[in-house]
């Protein structure tokens, strides 16, 4: 890791007061140094965290495969072979489930049959479909972290977004698509925004901690959706708690024929990532938001309203999470059911932290998680490994990202220049 060593002439011996003040305000000072390590250096810890997480997941698979124990009863060599094959079967199923099997793709391309080609590329696009809500959710958390709030309640906001988007999607009839679709999508954002605004204003006005309030609102949202789906929003001809289907004019267009479900939402998500980047790093307004997150005292001293910053931050974060919900309804499921979200909100925490609360990092992390989640579904079918293994791997990755010192100890890396970088998190006591 030669590139990690800062050259002597680069270490600034003296700084003028203004520079220190700016660094103090923006919080960019200590983080400016690791950036010099280059892209590879800053990706090293996340990559190793992902790798270690997958290795531990493999160990877990081995430990829970009875065939391995039986093989070790025969001989050690047989045991090792069985252990290796159990992991190999699982992870190759994960890979082909996430990206498609290369041989099938080549065969399909060779045959020239469109249906076969779509079939072969289906896993890859399905991974992108799974990635889309993660991008929205990860951005919601990342934006919150940058503004200094921990929006742990993205799950509830996802639900509210989905509820409102569904309602607009089926209740407003006779609108052309050009109006109906954006309206439904933004309605999803609005639903989440309201659910983010409440804890935001409570924190700003009363100091009530947003972590508790958003968790509470999660359950309020669940109960609300439970009631709505069993009552006012229940599909007329159904006894199950499901909403009516949304109208065609509110559906996010899909790019390919069946069975590929890849839809416009993915590009909207990428656009939102760019928008968040532009907002936070390229506008004065976003600068003041980041200032609130980096150092509220300095922000107040500089004339930036911390109250407004927190409320705006929570509301925007809520809106992004709400879009995740709206996106799922308008793009994938086309109706709302009770067990609608598979923990997008909580996975998003890991995604935002893995992406170091930066839009580019969030998109990359979301791609990883989307591929894992989608691949795991195939793995469950092919290898009989329950999909929940992914949660275990995700938790491991989260731990290693949150405590980089563990990774550095395992791989004997030298400590990061300018102290441990950690992750930008607004903590419990950090009011």
């Amino acid at each position: 890791m030669t590139e990690e060593q800062p050259k002597p002439e680069e270490s600034p011996p003296k700084k003028d007061a203004a520079k220190i003040l700016i660094e103090e305000i923006t919080g960019e000072g200590p983080r400016a140094k690791p950036r010099r390590r280059g892209v590879l250096g800053s990706l090293l810890v996340p990559m190793l965290a992902i790798f270690t997480g997958l290795v531990l997941g493999g160990v877990f698979i081995i430990l829970t495969t009875p065939a391995v124990y039986a093989a070790f009863g025969v001989s050690i060599w047989e045991g090792i072979k069985a252990a290796w094959s159990s992991v190999w079967v699982a992870y190759s199923a994960l890979f082909t489930g996430a990206f498609g099997s290369p041989s099938a793709i080549i065969a399909a391309l060779g045959s020239g049959d469109m249906t076969a080609i779509r079939q072969a590329f289906y896993p890859f696009f399905e991974s992108l479909v799974a990635t889309t809500p993660y991008i929205f959710g990860g951005l919601a958390l990342a934006l919150g972290f940058r503004v200094g709030v921990f929006n742990i309640g993205a799950e509830g906001q996802v639900f509210m977004g989905a509820i409102v988007a569904t309602f607009v999607g089926y209740a407003l009839k006779g609108l052309p698509m050009i109006i109906h679709l954006p309206l439904a999508f933004l309605a999803g954002g609005l639903g989440g925004a309201v659910w983010g605004f409440i804890p935001g204003i409570l924190k700003a006005k009363t100091g009530a901690h947003e972590v508790i309030n958003t968790i509470m609102l999660n359950y309020v949202a669940f109960r609300l959706s439970e009631w709505l789906l069993n009552g006012p929003m229940q599909r007329p001809d159904s006894f199950n708690p499901v909403s009516p289907f949304i109208l065609d004019s509110a559906k996010l267009p899909r790019f390919f024929g069946e069975p590929i479900r890849f839809h416009l939402g993915f590009f909207i998500a990428l656009f939102m990532a760019w928008l968040v980047y532009w907002l936070l790093w390229r506008t004065k307004w976003g600068f003041s938001l980041r200032m609130v997150g980096a150092n509220p005292h300095a922000a107040r001293y500089a004339g930036v309203s911390v109250t407004v910053g927190i409320v705006v931050g929570m509301t925007l974060a809520g809106a992004l999470a709400g879009m995740a919900g709206g996106n799922e309804v308008l793009g994938v499921s086309h109706s709302l059911a009770m067990a609608f979200s598979s923990g997008y909100g909580f996975d998003s925490i890991a995604i935002a932290l893995l992406g170091n609360s930066h839009p580019v990092g969030v998109v990359l992390a979301a791609l990883l998680f989307g591929a894992l989640r989608n691949g795991a579904t195939a793995m469950q079918l092919a290898a009989g490994i329950p999909i929940d293994i992914i949660s275990i791997v995700q938790a491991m990755i989260l731990v290693f990202i949150a405590a980089p010192a563990i990774i550095r100890t395992i791989y004997r890396l030298r400590p990061a220049a300018g102290g441990e970088e950690g992750v930008v998190v607004a903590s419990w006591g950090g009011k």
Partner: protein, 427 residues
């Protein structure tokens, strides 16, 4: 006791705005009682409250109330208390919270009278389910109290409970002994607690992140084991049975309270024992004083020679073990089998109960009982044919917690150093 118990000083001063808010709240509750419960009730309808728990030998006569008169009297009482609170200088002063409890109690009684008007409601059964539902909530909340009083936020109660529930069922079935299952549940939660401790105390990870990681891990791990083994082979792997109620002689034959309080299984008694132990430990022993000082001002505690890290480790370990007991209740204490994600967010309600109870063991129990009440009442709505959807009643614990946290009704104060990792000077 050589150590002076440092009870929290009750704030005697009641701010004028709080006085007014309370007065208006009382009057509003009174008005709501009249508006919602009194208007629709006919003059000659009666409400019957059954006072004998199911299966009890000792009986108490049922209470039969005229519904309309009862509701009206309760409404008037609430309004009168509200007017006194507003008119009297400084209102009820330091007794305001007691009056608030009484008013809320009257509101609930009026609600029950209205809901069960023309029918009968088993009050003893309601109290029984309330306390049973309060058991895991209280154990979880006590876990939170223990950790957070030492300055470590434990958002992982949910995950620890889930793990405890799964391990208790699995080990309990394999070993054939419920006690071994319980011990294994406690041990598994302690391992998670150790991870939380190492991450947040040694590596100074953000405690919420670490807790979230544990929650995700536990959800994944328990669902994985359950899907791969326990659901496939229910009889050999997921069939632990339950702890049977232990009847305490003499006491259990008291009418009404006897069967409710003295004919339960060990988890129920454990809740009260832990409650007493923790209250005593935290407020009347040297250990508790030290633990609380670590949670309030770790640097000062360190200066006095208290080992901050060790104190926090012990608190987190003990706290997680308590959450493990709470988790075991779900399987070997009530249902007798594990289902995926069966705690269903009760760990987070525990967290709410802890805040609602102001980081105080008895407060935590009170809040746990209140939330348990909402839960058990909601399940009776359908039987009583109440028009309000039960989902809204189930929302109330969360909404009430938010209101409390916002300081509208009362201020709950978290330990000063809660959630902040301790960094030794020069270290």
């Amino acid at each position: 006791m050589a150590t002076i118990a440092l009870q929290q000083q009750k704030i005697e001063y009641v701010s004028p705005s709080r006085q007014r808010v309370m007065g208006i709240l009382f009057i509003l509750l009174g008005a709501a009682t009249w508006f919602f419960f009194s208007r629709g009730t006919g003059a000659d309808i009666q409400t019957k409250f059954v006072m004998t728990p199911g299966g009890s030998t000792a009986t108490l006569p049922d209470i039969i109330l005229p519904a309309l008169a009862t509701v009206n009297v309760l409404a008037v009482l609430c309004v009168i208390l509200g007017i006194i609170q507003l008119v009297k200088p400084r209102g009820f002063g330091r007794y305001t919270n007691w009056i608030l409890t009484a008013v809320v109690g009257m509101f609930i009684l009026a609600f029950l009278t209205w809901a069960a008007s023309g029918k009968s409601l088993n009050l003893a059964g309601l109290l029984n389910t309330t306390l049973l539902k309060a058991v895991p909530l209280t154990l979880g909340a006590l876990s939170g109290v223990l950790c957070e009083r030492a300055g470590v936020v434990n958002i992982a109660i949910e995950g620890m409970m889930l793990m405890g529930a799964m391990v208790a069922a699995l080990v309990g079935t394999i070993s054939g002994s419920l006690w071994i299952g319980l011990i294994a549940a406690i041990a598994s939660a302690a391992v998670l607690g150790l991870v939380h401790g190492v991450l947040s105390i040694r590596y100074k990870t953000d405690q919420i992140v670490s807790g979230t990681a544990i929650n995700i891990f536990s959800t994944g791990m328990t669902s994985y084991i359950s899907a791969k083994f326990m659901q496939v082979n229910q009889i050999e792997l997921n069939n632990p049975g339950v702890f049977q109620p232990i009847e305490i002689p003499v006491l259990s034959s008291i009418p009404f309270f006897g069967p409710i309080l003295f004919k339960q299984n060990i988890f129920f008694y454990a809740m009260f024992i832990f409650l007493a132990l923790l209250t005593f430990g935290l407020y009347y022993t040297r250990w508790g004083l030290r633990l609380r000082s670590v949670g309030e001002h770790p640097r000062a505690a360190d200066t006095l020679g208290i080992n901050v890290f060790r104190t926090r480790y012990i608190a987190v370990l003990l706290g997680s073990m308590m959450a493990g007991v709470g988790g075991a209740y779900f399987t070997i204490g009530s249902v007798g089998g594990f289902d995926e994600v069966m705690t269903a967010g009760r760990g987070f309600i525990s967290l709410a109960a802890m805040i609602f109870g102001n980081w105080n063991p008895f407060g935590a129990f009170g809040a746990g009982a209140l939330f348990g009440f909402a839960d058990s009442l909601a399940s009776r709505f359908a039987i009583l044919g109440v028009k309000i959807p039960s989902e809204f009643l189930l929302m109330t614990p969360y909404l009430v917690t938010m209101i409390v946290l916002a300081g509208v009704v009362g201020r709950s104060r978290m330990p000063a150093a809660d959630g902040t990792p301790y960094v030794k000077e020069g270290g």
